[in-house]
């Protein structure tokens, strides 16, 4: 008998149905797209909806500040007041935030604003080039061990590469992905694609290491830009790999079936 796989919804109407209900829990998923393709919005929306259901998620932003992210999400109509959202703009606050999350009965999202932390400590000498990767790993480990966190978003892998020089990307990314799998978190790694969309990730090793790839893209159509989404790869899932148009209406993402070309 086939073993039932626990799945995490993407909360994109139409897309979850195309993936047997969502992404398998514990998978490491690459969310790739060019600038403006709503990678951050889609992934944060997953944490938000899971938090509404009482779950805890971790969002680490390496460049976009908490304020900017918060404003953007509020403009989208997400009711952040309905969940326990906890920003971390100072690494010494992490214990306090974890304590608050542990003692809160509602679902939570911990947003670690690395951009602000970077500004604060920019004059402090960092020991070596793995430092920021270590910060991410230590935060993930701490949050996972001390809360019931089940979801993690890293925004973005591309920003991480500019902060931490990977001498041997194939080896170091292998261990990073294995670390994330060992943490037993459903992980979404945001990857910024070049404008020509020639690759899903910087080193392309990430494509093999990840359990799934969700591709978001912008397609010019007449005098407009259409947002599109497709599941390129999803392990342990029978999925529909067609291109869907992605829309956000009434506080809800929708994947509209439109075939290969933008909707006419």
């Amino acid at each position: 008998m086939e073993k039932t796989i626990k799945r995490v919804k993407t909360y994109i109407q139409g897309l979850d149905d195309a993936m047997q209900g969502g992404v398998p829990a514990g998978h490491v998923i690459l969310v790739s797209g060019t600038a403006g393709s709503m990678k951050s919005s889609v992934t944060f929306n997953i944490l938000y909806n899971e938090a509404l259901n009482g779950k805890t998620g971790l969002y680490i932003s390496l460049e976009q500040s908490y304020e900017s992210l918060n404003q953007h999400l509020s403009n989208m109509g997400l009711r952040l007041d309905k969940i326990n959202i906890q920003p971390v703009k100072n690494l010494t606050r992490i214990e306090e935030v974890i304590h608050t999350v542990k003692n809160n009965s509602t679902g939570s999202i911990i947003v670690v604003d690395i951009g602000t932390i970077r500004k604060e400590i920019k004059d402090i000498k960092i020991a070596d080039n793995k430092s920021w990767l270590n910060v991410i790993k230590n935060v993930v480990k701490k949050v996972k061990m001390e809360t019931n966190c089940s979801l993690f978003v890293l925004d973005s892998l591309s920003a991480l590469y500019t902060l931490s020089r990977f001498e041997d990307p194939r080896v170091e990314l292998f261990y990073t992905f294995e670390f994330l799998r060992d943490m037993d978190l459903t992980t979404f790694l945001i990857s910024e694609m070049p404008l020509d969309e020639s690759k899903y990730s910087e080193y392309q090793i990430e494509d093999f290491l990840s359990d799934g790839i969700i591709h978001l893209r912008l397609t010019p159509f007449r005098r407009n830009i259409i947002k599109e989404i497709m599941v390129v790869k999803m392990r342990a899932t029978n999925c529909n790999n067609d291109v869907f148009s992605l829309e956000f209406k009434n506080g809800q993402f929708q994947a509209l079936y439109g075939g290969q070309n933008p909707l006419l």
Partner: protein
């Protein structure tokens, strides 16, 4: 034309006895390097010293009782700790070295940590001094009198791209910057220091820091060089492996004499010994192609023995059973300790009935002029441990082998002539 077929003597020796575990110690932490065996207090009593990934140095007696433990964990503030790989921040990745630094007749223990701190402990495990470098210290620390003033210097490389020279009191005498991190343990030849770097260079510098020569390999040089009179004369040679898969032999001026290709990275110091009584030194080493190699002084392979995984730790050459013949002891990542016959073994190739072959047109010349077989490594004993073997050392007096495994076990394996 020399006819060799059928004339070669088979060299294999059959041995009795077995390897048996005398004790096993569980450090409950990851071990990354071989142990060091020493007589710390000059009482004739051997100590077994080793470091752990969490930054502790253990001193055990020969019966595995803990004499003392030193915790090298550095105190760091809440923010700084977030920037560290917490699991390995204090790790001790090389064997501790020992030397009587204070001149009191007892030996001090010197080692470096991932945090970049070099410690000198006394024989009771109490700190004598410590020195902080700017980068991690992953290779071993060498202690020798380089400048000939009768006092030892403490020399080590760091991830901050510097080679440090300290005096016996832990004070910086000099440091030399190179263009990449140093993870190889240096070696000293008279007043010269030889070491490898992570960009594949082998440097030879004077005590004053003058670059005497460099030699470039194609990948990281993590192994310690070994210096020996390979051909039995006065000339000394530097033998060092690189992760570019080659073992290099250089002369004292840094010129390449020969290089020997393996199929895997070479991580550890080679052993030199005259294993075939030809008055020359042979080179025995392991590679990440899973093999132990014995190479003669001219760089020709004598034999190799293939295990099931990488050989990263240095091999030991010793006459473990006191029969007058040397053995090679090698720990493999396949969890096994192998004891090999240093002389290797001659194996005849399979040839169908000689007469039949001789009658085939064109076969005669090939058969009668080529070697009828080949030398291979010969396993005498094998002992399976519970984890990846990161290194072993031998207690010379008892010939006991102390094995460190990554899982944290320290095994004492002894040779026994016959099972009771």
């Amino acid at each position: 034309m020399k006819i060799t077929f059928g004339l070669k003597k088979i060299l294999g020796r059959e041995k009795e006895g077995l390897l048996r575990e005398k004790w096993k110690f569980d450090s409950k932490n990851t071990l990354l390097a071989p142990p060091t065996i020493c007589d710390l207090k000059n009482t004739g009593e051997k100590n077994i010293l080793f470091g752990t990934k969490e930054g502790k140095i253990y001193s055990l007696d020969k019966n595995s009782n803990i004499k003392w433990i030193f915790d090298a964990q550095e105190q760091v503030d809440q923010i700084e700790i977030m920037f560290l790989d917490v699991e390995s921040a204090n790790s001790i990745q090389a064997s501790p070295n020992i030397y009587d630094l204070t001149g009191d007749g007892r030996k001090e223990i010197v080692f470096g940590t991932e945090m970049g701190v070099v410690y000198a402990l006394n024989s009771e495990g109490k700190p004598v001094w410590k020195f902080k470098a700017e980068g991690s210290i992953r290779g071993g620390v060498i202690i020798k009198d380089v400048d000939g003033d009768g006092k030892p210097e403490v020399i080590f490389g760091s991830g901050d791209k510097n080679l440090y020279i300290l005096n016996a009191k832990g004070k910086l005498i000099n440091k030399f910057e190179v263009d990449e991190s140093i993870e190889s343990m240096p070696e000293v030849m008279d007043d010269k220091i030889i070491f490898g770097t992570n960009n594949g260079k082998i440097h030879c510098i004077s005590f004053e820091g003058e670059e005497i020569w460099t030699f470039k390999t194609k990948d990281k040089v993590l192994a310690q060089p070994v210096i020996g009179k390979l051909f039995g004369g006065d000339e000394r040679y530097i033998i060092i492996g690189s992760t570019d898969q080659y073992l290099y032999t250089l002369d004292e001026q840094g010129a390449l004499i020969w290089k020997f290709k393996t199929e895997g990275a070479i991580y550890s110091k080679a052993a030199l010994a005259d294993i075939n009584n030809d008055k020359k030194l042979e080179i025995i080493f392991g590679s990440c192609d899973n093999k132990v190699y014995a190479v003669d002084s001219r760089g020709e392979k004598m034999w190799s023995y293939e295990t099931n995984f990488w050989i990263v730790a240095p091999v030991i050459v010793s006459d473990i059973d006191d029969d007058g013949n040397l053995e090679i002891i090698a720990g493999s990542y396949d969890h096994n300790l192998y004891v090999l016959d240093a002389k290797g073994n001659y194996i005849l190739d399979y040839v169908p009935g000689l007469a039949g072959v001789m009658q085939q047109t064109g076969s005669y010349s090939d058969i009668t002029t080529s070697e009828a077989g080949k030398m291979t490594g010969k396993k005498i004993w094998q002992y399976q441990t519970e984890g990846i073997i990161v290194g072993c050392a031998m207690i010379d007096e008892t010939k006991d082998i102390i094995i460190n495994t990554q899982k944290g076990y320290v095994n004492n394996i002894g040779y026994e002539k016959k099972r009771d």
